[in-house]
């Protein structure tokens, strides 16, 4: 028997396996429409799903929903929690049996997760990338590396509200920007600071332009309003 005849078959099998693995690694985060945020960072994902935090940076309450098993579940654990399913179950049980948390909802399929997230206020879950996200919103996952690499090309300084300046009211405003792949700022969230100054800062940063990128990114900026200047 000529072994070379088996090579195409082996190649096909290996190819299919690799494709399957690649697909298994693709998950997307979905959330109920009540969740205000459009993006979420990997560290936020970890904290929310380990019940270290039950709200996002913008203050939105969230409730994690997991899958019981499957490719999306395994990929999610590997990529974002760094734990095996057994370790995660042990972790949740320790919380539930010591009064420090509760067992999160765990559902059997992508479809069940989508349906539950769609009807439950604050629910946040994950499904395989190809799953239809009808009725829920898909959260962009921030890529810290890309955020760091993007450079600000055009910066517009905010206008200091005259009344506040005369009253010597100043301070630092913190904003979270969502930057589109083209580089324009498509969303701004006020994270902290005087709300009037925050509005002035928001109006300015919406005109900022960053370097293009292959995906949407987020970044935090702080703007100082100094009445003595």
């Amino acid at each position: 028997m000529n072994n070379y005849r088996l090579l195409p078959l082996v190649a096909v099998v290996v190819g299919v396996c690799c494709l399957g693995y690649a697909l298994a690694g693709e998950v997307k985060l979905i959330a109920n429409s009540s969740v205000k945020a459009d993006t979420i960072s990997p560290s936020e994902i970890r904290r929310v799903f380990l019940e270290e935090n039950n709200s996002l940076r913008d203050g939105t309450h969230v409730e994690p929903v997991l899958e019981k098993d499957g490719a999306a579940h395994q990929a999610f654990l590997r990529e974002y929690l760094g734990r095996t399913d057994d370790d995660l179950q042990t972790y949740y049980r320790a919380l539930a049996f010591t009064g420090r948390g509760s067992m999160p909802k765990q559902l059997g399929s992508d479809a069940e997760v989508v349906a539950y997230v769609a009807k439950t206020r604050g629910a946040i879950g994950y499904v395989s990338a190809e799953t239809s996200a009808e009725g829920v919103k898909t959260l962009a996952i921030e890529d810290a590396r890309n955020s760091a690499e993007r450079k600000l090309i055009t910066r517009v300084e905010p206008a200091y509200p005259e009344t506040l300046k005369q009253l010597k009211i100043g301070g630092t405003v913190r904003l979270q920007l969502t930057v589109a792949p083209k580089g324009n700022v498509e969303n701004v969230q006020l994270l902290g600071g005087n709300p009037i100054l925050g509005e002035a800062a928001t109006n300015a940063v919406k005109r900022w332009v960053y370097t293009p990128n292959h995906s949407r990114t987020t970044t935090e900026v702080s703007i100082l309003f100094d009445p003595s200047r």
């Binding site: 904290r47 270290e52 709200s55 049980r93 320790a94 010591t98 009064g99 509760s102």
Partner: protein, 413 residues
């Protein structure tokens, strides 16, 4: 006897309920979801020589049962309430007297700041708060140098409050978790310390007091490496009656003991790489007490450490091993010193317990496991402070070495 039957019946009911209703663990009450969880474990120990953990283990003993049941509900986005009842029988300890294990209201303002109050599980080292939860651990018995199961009441919970939180460090330096607590510890009179004292003719009717401390743990940038430290201070008072040591034939006299300095320092680390997990902890427990209303004092120094490793061979099978080392010294000053000579030589079997352990755990399914474990102990460490070996169940005296076979199964839902 009735209590034993009721207890075993309840444990069996938990077992059956768990088997039947594992998928259904919640119900609705006033439009809130209430989660229900429970566990039950049953052990058997056989030792070649000394009787261990207040059981008649040299004949083989199955007087090693515990179970718990809890309810919890998230009342608001930030408020979680719940309670757990716990009961056990361990040889002469517990005796199926149920206790409120924890009952807490937990309000989390931010990830970096939350408060919980009520009867709260005490955070001390890696496993103090989960030491009863057999199904969470690879080992049937956690290292007894740090987690003596006969003395669980000493550290398991406090009636008071905690503040806690988790802070992410900048520059990728990992995150810090902290807990600070204060409250009242109250030991069951069916726990190890009152039982130990009964060997001296004392009958302790109450034992407890203020307990406060803090824990800080760092999830380091090195993935899966955790290191931490805990500190606990105590102000404990014990009361009861005792044989008059100066006139044993006379009537019983009031007995009291009170802390002058009583603290625990604990340091720990945990590292997980793939299927391997390695833990290590060190604990020092210092206790300086006034005895018999201050007529005497005792100075006890209890030190323990262990190194353990556990490896998951496949989804259903884990193996593990640890080496646990325990030493104790005690000096009595004052009127009672004539009756209690100093115990300061930790090379003596009475003042140490070195335990080499191997174990295997089989998970029959997600909710039910079986364990088999071997303990190879040198020393019995029962001189000045209890540590698993008690004179009441060893009237013939102690032998220096003990080999123990432990079988255990537990179920949770």
């Amino acid at each position: 006897m009735n209590r034993r039957i009721v207890g075993l019946g309840f444990a069996w009911a938990c077992f059956c309920a768990g088997s039947i209703t594992l998928p259904a663990q919640e119900f609705k009450l006033f439009d809130r979801t209430v989660q229900v969880h429970g566990f039950v474990s049953q052990g058997f120990i056989y030792t070649n020589d000394n009787n261990w953990l207040t059981m008649n283990t040299s004949q083989g003993s199955a007087a090693f049962t515990d179970f718990g049941l809890n309810l919890s509900s998230r009342i608001t986005d930030r408020l979680l309430v719940g309670a757990q009842v716990y009961d056990r029988n361990l040889g002469q300890l517990g005796q199926y007297h149920p206790s409120l294990d924890w009952a807490v209201a937990d309000y989390r303002f931010k990830s970096w700041f939350g408060v919980r109050g009520g009867k709260v599980k005490t955070t001390l080292g890696l496993y103090t708060d989960t030491q009863d939860l057999d199904f969470l651990h690879v080992f049937a018995l956690l290292p007894q140098s740090i987690y003596p199961t006969d003395l669980r009441d000493a550290t398991i919970a406090h009636l008071g409050g905690d503040i806690y939180g988790n802070v992410s460090l900048k520059h990728g330096l990992g995150d810090l978790s902290y807990t600070a607590y204060a409250g009242h510890r109250s030991d069951s009179i069916y726990s190890g310390y009152p039982y130990y004292f009964s060997s001296f003719g004392a009958h302790i009717t109450s034992f407890g007091g203020l307990q406060y401390g803090a824990d800080l743990r760092w999830n380091t940038p090195l993935k899966a490496l955790l290191i931490g430290a805990s500190r606990m201070n105590e102000d404990i008072t014990g009361k009861g009656s005792a044989i008059n040591p100066f006139n044993p034939g006379a009537a019983l006299v009031p007995y009291s003991e009170a802390s002058k300095a009583d603290w625990v320092n604990q340091f720990y680390g945990e590292y997980t790489v793939g299927r391997l997990r390695i833990d290590s902890e060190y604990r020092r427990y210092w206790r300086n007490q006034e005895l018999f209303s201050g007529t005497s004092q005792s100075f006890g120094d209890v030190r323990g450490w262990y190194v353990s490793g556990a490896y998951r061979i496949c989804k259903r099978l884990q193996i593990g091993s640890y080496y646990s080392r325990y030493t104790v010294t005690n000096v009595v000053a004052g009127a009672l010193s004539a009756f209690y000579p100093p115990a300061t030589d930790t090379s003596l079997p009475a003042d140490h317990d070195y335990d080499k352990v191997i174990t295997g755990r089989v998970d029959l399914n997600r909710f039910w496991n079986l364990k088999i474990e071997g303990h190879f102990m040198n020393g019995y460490g029962s001189g000045p402070y209890p540590n698993g070996f008690y004179t009441q169940v060893n009237p013939q005296g102690f032998k220096p070495n003990t080999i123990a076979l432990v079988l255990k199964t537990s179920l949770n839902f």
